[in-house]
């Protein structure tokens, strides 16, 4: 894809980059502001991670061009993400399972 960019295309991209930048800055302020709200810890974690995920996907989709990247890359990343979550949650699940036994 990237090789097919002509000048106009790139100029469009630059506009998108600027918009993404604004969105990222805005979301950063929101997430900091939200941390001062009196939320329960569950809500706070959900909100903060949700905002972080949005920001992360903006960076990945636009700066890293994942939105128009080849399928192969997407597959590799999906595989990685799958194992990432397994790595993240099974140790935690085992901890909970252990606690359940007392």
């Amino acid at each position: 894809m990237t090789s097919g960019h002509d000048t106009a295309d790139i100029k469009n991209h630059i506009k998108v980059y600027m918009m993404v930048f604004a969105a990222l800055a805005f979301l950063t302020i929101i997430t900091v502001a939200a941390s001062y709200l009196d939320l329960s810890s569950g809500e706070a974690i959900f909100l903060a991670l949700a905002i972080a995920s949005i920001k992360g996907s903006l960076v990945a989709s636009y700066f890293m061009h994942l939105i128009s990247e080849r399928a192969l890359i997407t597959w590799i990343l999906m595989l990685t993400a799958g194992f990432f979550f397994i790595l993240m949650f099974i140790p935690m699940a085992s901890l909970i399972d252990q606690a359940r036994l007392g």
Binding site: M1, K11, T28, F63
Partner: protein, 198 residues
């Protein structure tokens, strides 16, 4: 015989070699930070209720917010420097790359201030598990920044000669190193809330 697809894309995969390589590298980086995030979650669950939140209150949120902004900006200038090369504007490339490096430096300076402030208050990695994981995660992230800066500096100064001989390959190099740089930014986007805000 030269190795094929170092510059041009292989028709059936649509990729040049380095791009696949860097994405595989980033996949392994995801798993590296995955291991550390997993440790974070594990320790947070294991700590007394609310302890991580209490311990984290010592951290300086305004400084970290500034750092987040700096890193996001550096990501934008990074992608702009690549776009400039696509537009064949070498001068602008130099300009944006310079700013990217400056941002990275600024990030490290603020990080240094944060660290020394912690040490002054006798907070060390051995203080508790929160600071253990805080220093490990931010330290490793800092190392990634430093490593990235070395490469960026090379491509900004001595390595940029390549633009005049092999412009396409040079643009690809900027794209791959850019992918790495955005990834480092991405990691920080997650580090910021889980360490400072939660």
């Amino acid at each position: 015989m030269n190795i094929p697809y170092t510059v041009e894309e292989r028709p059936d995969t649509g990729l040049y070699n380095a791009k696949l390589g860097i994405w595989l590298f980033l996949a392994s980086e995801v798993m590296l930070f995955g291991g550390l995030f997993s440790a974070y979650v594990f320790l947070r669950f294991g700590a007394p209720e609310g302890a991580f939140h209490e311990w984290g209150k010592e951290l300086n949120i305004p400084l970290a917010t500034i750092n987040t902004m700096i890193l996001i900006s550096s990501s934008v200038t990074m992608v702009m420097s690549w776009a400039s090369l696509k537009l064949k504007d070498f001068k602008k490339y130099k300009f944006y790359m310079g700013i990217t490096l400056l941002c990275a430096l600024g990030f490290l300076v603020i990080k240094y201030l944060e660290y020394t402030a912690k040490f002054d208050h006798h907070i060390y990695p051995s203080t508790n598990t929160f600071y253990a994981i805080y220093f490990t995660l931010t330290g490793l992230h800092g190392l990634h920044i430093i490593g990235g800066m070395v490469v960026l500096f090379y491509l900004w100064m001595p390595g940029s000669k390549m633009w005049h001989s092999k412009p396409e390959q040079f643009t690809n190099r900027i794209e791959t190193v850019g992918l790495y740089w955005h990834f480092v930014d991405l990691v920080w986007i997650f580090l910021f809330p889980i360490l400072y805000l939660l």
